[in-house]
């Protein structure tokens, strides 16, 4: 159906694996870059990823696997990045091939720590990729449910409608419905901000707040998100669309969310450092909090929830006291 598009996925984690699975439903060949050569060998022999989303069946006959990022960029036109934001710059520094003329979709949902930019902005600013060649693939979507082929809805954002439509067609199937949008900035900020609100939900849960409070926290979170995104990029959007509110809810109400788990440990009294060590990975919301706080300091948006999470994570303030203060600012 989409044989004329050459699409490659960059990243070996759960979300990258889920996207590869979706694409193989429609395409003869999908390029797939990951660093880990042992995983590549395993996938070729066993038709599933040994380390992430291992329940997802993949057909290696339709995969062009490589751990050479330059091979992948040279041979594919549409590049989907699903590498954790913390590792993105390290990977991109390996590039000798040019990104000029490529279409780049971000499926990262985070901030590039080194530049404090969302991924689309990073490619636009640092690699001079024109905005019409940049897109975003966003949920609400847990990769685990894609593996189980449970019905999920994706939003594909690109200012070039044709590119958004092509990517939609490449991803949709019996269990994936897609919708297009031209809000590349808003959808990517929403995907990033929701991780902070998931950390907040986790802290609240860790502190012993109940379901009544969680619903108030989510109600305030979506209003705060709306203010924040409007300040960054004003355009007509319905903040209650799935790409914004749905994405917030699937993360904020999920006990599987790494951001929520991280917040939960902090709420229970772990130090930030020990929570990170215990989880053996750093939740995206940790970086997102720092960047979002800086942005709101610059543009003056009222963000009591981001502020509370920031002071807890970066100023080592007492979560119980900070949330007590926060409860007086919510309604």
């Amino acid at each position: 159906m989409n044989e004329h598009q050459k699409i490659a996925v960059f990243g070996g984690g759960s979300w990258a694996t889920a996207i590869v699975k979706m694409l193989t439903e429609n395409m003869e060949t999908v390029g797939w870059y990951m660093r880990n050569t042992a995983s590549i060998r395993y996938i070729k022999e066993n038709d599933h990823n040994p380390k992430y989303l291992s329940s997802a069946e993949l057909d290696a006959n339709h995969l062009d696997l490589s751990n050479d990022i330059n091979y992948m960029v040279a041979n594919y036109e549409v590049l989907i990045f699903a590498i954790p934001s913390a590792f993105l710059t390290t990977e991109l520094h390996k590039l000798k091939e040019s990104l000029a003329g490529k279409t780049i979709f971000s499926a990262i949902k985070g901030i590039v720590p080194e530049t404090g930019l969302i991924v689309g902005e990073h490619f636009n600013t640092i690699y001079e990729i024109p905005l019409e060649n940049i897109g975003v693939i966003t949920g609400p979507c847990h990769a685990e449910e894609v593996a189980m082929e449970r019905l999920s809805y994706l939003t594909i954002a690109c200012q070039d409608e044709e590119k958004a439509k092509k990517m939609s067609k490449a991803l949709e199937s019996d269990y994936i419905k897609t919708k297009i949008s031209d809000d590349i900035i808003g959808t990517e900020y929403a995907a990033m901000l929701k991780n902070i609100y998931a950390v907040a939900a986790g802290i609240a849960h860790g502190l012993g707040y109940g379901d009544n409070f969680q619903s108030v926290l989510m109600s305030n979170s979506i209003r705060e998100m709306k203010r924040f995104i409007k300040k960054v990029h004003k355009m007509k959007r319905n903040i209650n669309d799935s790409a914004y509110l749905g994405d917030l809810l699937v993360t904020g109400y999920s006990t599987f969310s790494r951001n929520r788990q991280f917040g939960n440990m902090v709420g229970k009294g772990y130090t930030v450092k020990s929570a990170q060590m215990e989880m053996s990975m750093i939740a995206e919301g940790y970086y997102a909090t720092k960047s979002a706080f800086k942005i709101k300091e610059d543009n003056g948006t009222k963000t009591p929830i981001i502020d509370a999470v920031y002071t807890i994570l970066y100023d080592n303030k007492n979560p119980k006291k900070e949330f007590k203060k926060l409860t007086n600012k919510l309604d």
Copy 2:
């Protein structure tokens, strides 16, 4: 603090008990009408309700308990109704005392089955209570968390701001924060509609849809609720405030919600009748669906979720097929 207001609560269930508990934090005497004389005796002796919310500690010294509805109406000025909507008219038919001059707050969150009206409209239409004497007490608030004194937020709606403020003061405490609103129609419709969406969430869960779909369903539900309420009573409101979105979320994401449980059984294949018998009570959302469907038929609002629930509950259509059709209308 509020000794000058004479407030009585009508109803013996969980939510009535929670409201009584909140009021006794602030008031010397709270009137409490319930039918069951055995429960009244038990509360007087043991300081808690034996049948509902039995973990909530109540101080009987501050309660004026009676099973005589006329005594209660004659002796109190502000009447809070927290009787399940299915029993409201039966109770009101016992009235010989006039309701003229009384202030009436609805904490019922349902439709009066006999008239198809929300409770405020019912008192306004049938008992000619002027709108400025009618108020609404709404969540997001599970009664169970009030019993545990977990922080919860209430919205008190009344067109007479003074009356809303007085009721707010009577209810607020260390664990209850309140907010006032003048949207008595919208808040009460929201409280009613959210039960339908909780039934829908239950059906989806019973059919095997996952968290990704639930978040899309809730995102579409709040947009549908906004359209519905706007058509019924147009005014400036933020549908993402706690009284609307928060209330939807606390119910839609709660496994304790009777409406969600009811929907879950229907989704799993129980007939409506057998699900109701199994639960030994009828979920508010069952009546709400019929009334909301009639209202939207009259005013032409686009309500795919209400329509799907209606055809399943009242036309005995197959839940799996109806939800399959519904998934194509959501985004």
